[in-house]
């Protein structure tokens, strides 16, 4: 780790003068500096940004909760007595211990294991063990005000059954944050009751921002992920493009077409010729069915900073990112179906899940590629990455051979971080 370099004002601080102006150059120290990660926690994860927390169906009944993270801040999301969704820091106001210790459950209230301080479903401190002491001895001073102490509370809101939260009271509404263009892309897919069909976590050995860039990088898709081209899978993709929110923060890429030609050679395996050697034996996992009333086969929505909403044919997934230090992150995959799936549709989703995920045919490389950058640039904090495909702007384009969305990420990152 580099020692902090004084900036132009002479402050011992990460130095703005080490980052050229603009959004087409990214110095590698941004992915390596622990002080940057601390600032990101304050300015982005706890800043005026909405972060994915959980699904509405995770917490359908009063007292149902899930634990999650805003960056490294542990959070409880819970369905309250009023039926509303509440979010608060998973940290006891007394000594800071975790209040909830499981991923999910149902609670009447939350009691810290350490000294039994108790919180209601909205995160209000409501009782303190031995507050009045024992036999008139000890206890809290009479003037101690429970209402003035408690874990930090989030604002929460939902779109399409996805629950988001922000710590910043000054943040815009969720709808404003997303922009109407991006909100429409989310509602296109998340249009009815969801059902979880699998959860997996993938640890990526890279700084979280490399994944934020990767999910916006439409340029790499057909170059790094060679599955479709290797097996000569015919994709009838006629058009595609990238929609970027007016502020550049969020991105939705779409591939429009008629799907994949699935002509399984599986049944004919006895008479395989050499030229069929590069064909799949059983391509039923590529069979798909239009279910959103249009010809969009693939839609990837990347929300700032780094929530990814995937529609890959009928494979629907949410990918949530949790930074784990400067050079690691957890990618939480939630594979989804809809509650009204027919058995055939559900089977289709189970088979298509082979495409994405920690072992996904067209996604597994994303697990290692960030680590290759982290290691490749290990000794080059002041060298720069180039983000110039498709020009200098961060606006919507009718091509996927562009890094416009990646620039959109950096534009908003610089604004929020003040560097």
């Amino acid at each position: 780790m580099d020692a902090p370099i004084p900036n132009s004002a002479g402050e011992k601080h990460w130095a703005p003068n080490r980052w050229p102006e603009g959004i087409t150059r990214v110095p590698f120290w941004l992915y390596q500096d622990a002080e940057i990660l601390r600032a990101e926690q304050r300015k982005i994860y706890e800043g005026p940004v909405w972060h994915f927390l959980c699904l509405e169906v995770d917490i359908e009944n009063q007292g149902d909760y899930r634990t999650t993270f805003l960056g490294k801040m542990p959070v409880i999301v819970v369905r309250g007595e009023d039926g509303a969704i509440h979010g608060f820091e998973n940290r006891c106001a007394h000594r800071g211990a975790l209040i909830a210790l499981d991923d999910t459950g149902n609670a009447k209230d939350f009691t810290c294991a350490y000294h039994a301080w108790r919180y209601d479903l909205e995160g209000n401190l409501c009782s303190i063990a031995f507050q009045r002491g024992v036999n008139g001895q000890g206890g809290m001073p009479p003037e101690f005000d429970m209402r003035a102490h408690g874990p930090r509370k989030l604002r929460t809101d939902s779109i399409g059954g996805l629950v988001f939260g922000t710590l910043d009271p000054a943040a815009p509404t969720l709808e404003e944050f997303l922009s109407p263009e991006i909100a429409a892309k989310i509602r296109r897919v998340f249009n009815r009751k969801l059902e979880v069909i699998g959860r997996f976590t993938q640890f990526l050995p890279n700084n979280w921002k490399m994944y934020a860039e990767n999910v916006r990088d439409t340029y790499h898709a057909s170059l790094l992920h060679l599955f479709f081209t290797t097996f000569k899978i015919t994709r009838f993709d006629q058009a595609g493009g990238v929609t970027i929110s007016p502020d550049g923060a969020h991105h939705a890429s779409a591939t429009i077409g008629k799907g994949i030609e699935t002509k399984s050679v599986y049944k004919d395996q006895g008479i395989r010729s050499d030229s069929e050697d590069f064909k799949l034996r059983d391509d039923r996992f590529l069979a798909s069915k239009a279910e959103f009333g249009d010809d969009i086969q693939l839609q990837n929505v990347a929300l700032f900073p780094v929530t990814m909403l995937q529609q890959l044919y009928n494979s629907i997934a949410v990918r949530q990112t949790v930074p784990r230090g400067v050079d690691g992150m957890d990618l939480n995959w939630i594979f989804l179906g809809f509650a009204d799936d027919t058995p055939e549709m559900r089977k289709m989703r189970l088979r298509q899940a082979n495409l994405a995920g920690p072992a996904g045919y067209v996604s597994m490389e994303d697990g290692c590629i960030g680590g290759f950058v982290q290691r490749g640039a290990a000794a080059a904090p002041d060298e720069i990455a180039i983000v110039e495909m498709g020009g200098y702007e961060a606006a919507s384009q009718n091509t996927r051979a562009t890094e416009a969305s990646v620039r959109g990420f950096w534009k908003n990152y610089r604004r929020l971080m003040g560097i």
């Binding site: 979880v196 069909i197 699998g198 959860r199 997996f200 976590t201 993938q202 640890f203 990526l204 050995p205 790094l224 060679l226 599955f227 081209t229 290797t230 097996f231 599986y266 395996q269 590069f278 799949l280 034996r281 059983d282 391509d283 039923r284 996992f285 957890d330 594979f335 559900r346 989703r349 189970l350 088979r351 899940a353 082979n354 995920g357 920690p358 072992a359 996904g360 045919y361 597994m364 490389e365 697990g367 290692c368 680590g371």
Partner: protein
Amino acid sequence: MSSPETLFRLSALNTAYAATIDADRLEDWPGFFTEDCLYKITTDENHRRGQLAGIVYADSRGMLEDRVAALRRANIFERQCYRHIVGMPSILAEDAGNIRAEAPFLVIRTMRTGEMSLFAAGRYLDHIRVMPDGGLRFAERLAICDSPRFDTLLAIPL
């Protein structure tokens, strides 16, 4: 087939299965399965909750062959190998042509850099079919991992 003999044969099957993967003879791996098999890699939590998706989900031997073809030709990842340690199986049920069994496994992954890690711990939940020639094939093999978390990526099967 008596139980001690079944136990011995299952142990031999698991040993051969593990050796095939660990020695990078992946082209032979689908041969351990029936034509209409189910092979899935999932986590204990998904399994308990009835969440049916896997990170690998193959419901035919052809799909297993495709997995091998993809990781040989299409998918990009750093050179690595596994060492499976498969424990003694427990026989859950047995009739003339079918055996249901479970066996614990550990998989140690060694990267080209020499970095070694405990990549997976879990259990195989198996439905084994006794073939007409007396041989054993997996009609179903669920690799149920104890941890929900997979390091970097999974290319080589468990």
